[in-house]
Amino acid sequence: MRIKDLIMVSMRNLWRRKLRTSLTILGVVIGTASIVLMVSLGIAMNQNFIKEIERMGSLTTINVYPSYRYDPMMDKNPSGGSVDEGMITDMTVASFESIPGVAIASPVLELSLKMTADKYVSWIQLKGIKPALLEVQKLKIAEGRLLEEQDKLAFLFGSEVAYGFYDPLSSGGGMWYYQEGNEERMPPPVDLMTARLKASYDMNFGEKAPPGGTGMKPVRPYNITAIGIIEGQGEHAYSVYTTLDQARAIKIEQDRYNASVSGTETSGTGSKKKTVETYNNAIVQVEDIDQVETVIETIKGMGFEAYSLMEYLKSMQNTSNAIQMVLGGIGAISLLVAAIGITNTMIMSIYERTKEIGVMKVIGAKMKDIKKMFLIEAAMIGFLGGATGLVISFGGSKILNFVGKNISLFGMGGGGVDTQLSVIPLWLYILAIVFTTLVGLISGYLPAVRAMKLSVLSALRTE
């Protein structure tokens, strides 16, 4: 029999029992819609996790810390010269860079500074890094440009840094720029790109001098140029970047100042120059997200602490997988019920058509043709149910997203504008339709074989 004829005959047979066919299809529709919607909730949850984490920072960034709690401020390195294992030095950073899959590794030299921008004051955490790192991280700039190697006394600011500035003369402190009941954000008090910037490691800098003075000799602040503002929220939002060389230069002066203030220079370390410089931490940028875990393993194997958002993502994904399983399982039950419905319908229609099957066999139908005829019928029920179910899922997904726009279900979502409750990717559509057709085929198999094996004579004798 030609396949076209088979399909046509099956279609006619379905059509001739419209009500029963549509009720059976309805079962599949409900099964498909529930399974697809449930899975779409899980997928949306997963996507929201990833989005949320990406807001926090790049998934391919690994932060490496020394292997023990080690405070660079206290690091006077009394033994002199030798550097403990597990400390981050230029050498270790170079060895990170040689790990396969690593795009770039940069040490981070952190300094706490006091800054002024016109009349406003703020504490900042300055990070000295290799300028190339920001390029590899594909950092987006809202204003200005990225850091370059030859920049001197030039800072790159995170988007949130400007909000940290306050007017020391005003009483309110003024750290909050949200208005009551209004999500709309006020502009920051100062535009860092245009303001006159000064920075100092003296923590009293910029404040009203206490009556009678601090008793310390004032430090001459650095004049700073703002070269750019980093776009968006995330790990860079509160950071201030400069070149490694610049950070190092400030640190040397800070160390010298601290020594002179506290008078600990007597130990003589100041004259004995450290042979190897150590850093607070290091940032390792991995080329591909799939390599993150192996690189972390390698770095940990070298005796360092290494963290990435991947680990956080992993645990979140485990949670969402478990939720997806439960949701999918609920959907699967309704599809199972639908599958039983298909089998039932097919058995019923074979009972009804027993005589017809007998006649067809007598006039020359092949065994296989009979089987195929019923299989196609069952598959068609599955397919039509799946297709209709997908249309309904599509609509349902739209409604869920519309209704859930302002509701944070499952406590996730974070209220982002693009947060969706239900996401149906293309593969889910294709998978669903293939799956329901398959469910139809499987449900129809037993009845079809039964029809095929009907004895001709007894089939003919049925009325």
Partner: protein, 241 residues
Amino acid sequence: MGKIMIIKGLRKVYRMGKEKVIALDHVDLDIEEEKVYCLLGPSGSGKSTLLNMMAGLEPPTKGSISFKNLKIDKMNESDLANFRRRHIGFIFQSYNLIPTLNALENITMPLLFKGVHPKVRHKVGMEMLDAIGIKDRWRHKPTEMSGGQQQRVSLARAFINDPDIIFADEPTGNLDTKTANTMMMLMLGLVKERRQTLIIVTHNEELAVFADYVIHIRDGNIYEIVMNADKKKVDHSTTEI
């Protein structure tokens, strides 16, 4: 004239619970090509059983049936289906048309199973409908036709494949005498024209006059075979509705 079917030592036993019912025993029969046979006997004589076994609808308990050089008794279900599709046509007492299909679709069903192209099916089917004289009713469903018309459709369905043997099980049993006669004429005309073999099962002795050989069956045995020498001539031109 060659023999198209040879039956030897045929025996069929049915089990009715614990009891054995012997439907046929010691049946030997040769069927010649292009002849019309009539299996005549009262109900329960085993004539339908014989027909069913010849048509490959049920297997014999013992004995052999060969069609040309094919051993029908040795065939499995699937081979039997192929055998039926290629070599035989079947006409039922109760027409057995598919109620959801129209006349043309019913007639061309065997071609459908053969995988013939729809256009060819339509053409051949219309020719067949023309030959049996109900061309204008091709769109009608079985329920919209009279018994005679339905049996014509059933007839056309049996002939469309151009089979070697046509089996007819009480073909006129549900028809009035006049229609039955027209039907017989039509059937005999087609068989002669196409040089086919026809085997009719009936308990109606009036039909026996149309056959070349009348095989009398009684209690599961062939009682006697009568050759109809003074058979009525079949006039092809007298077929009418």
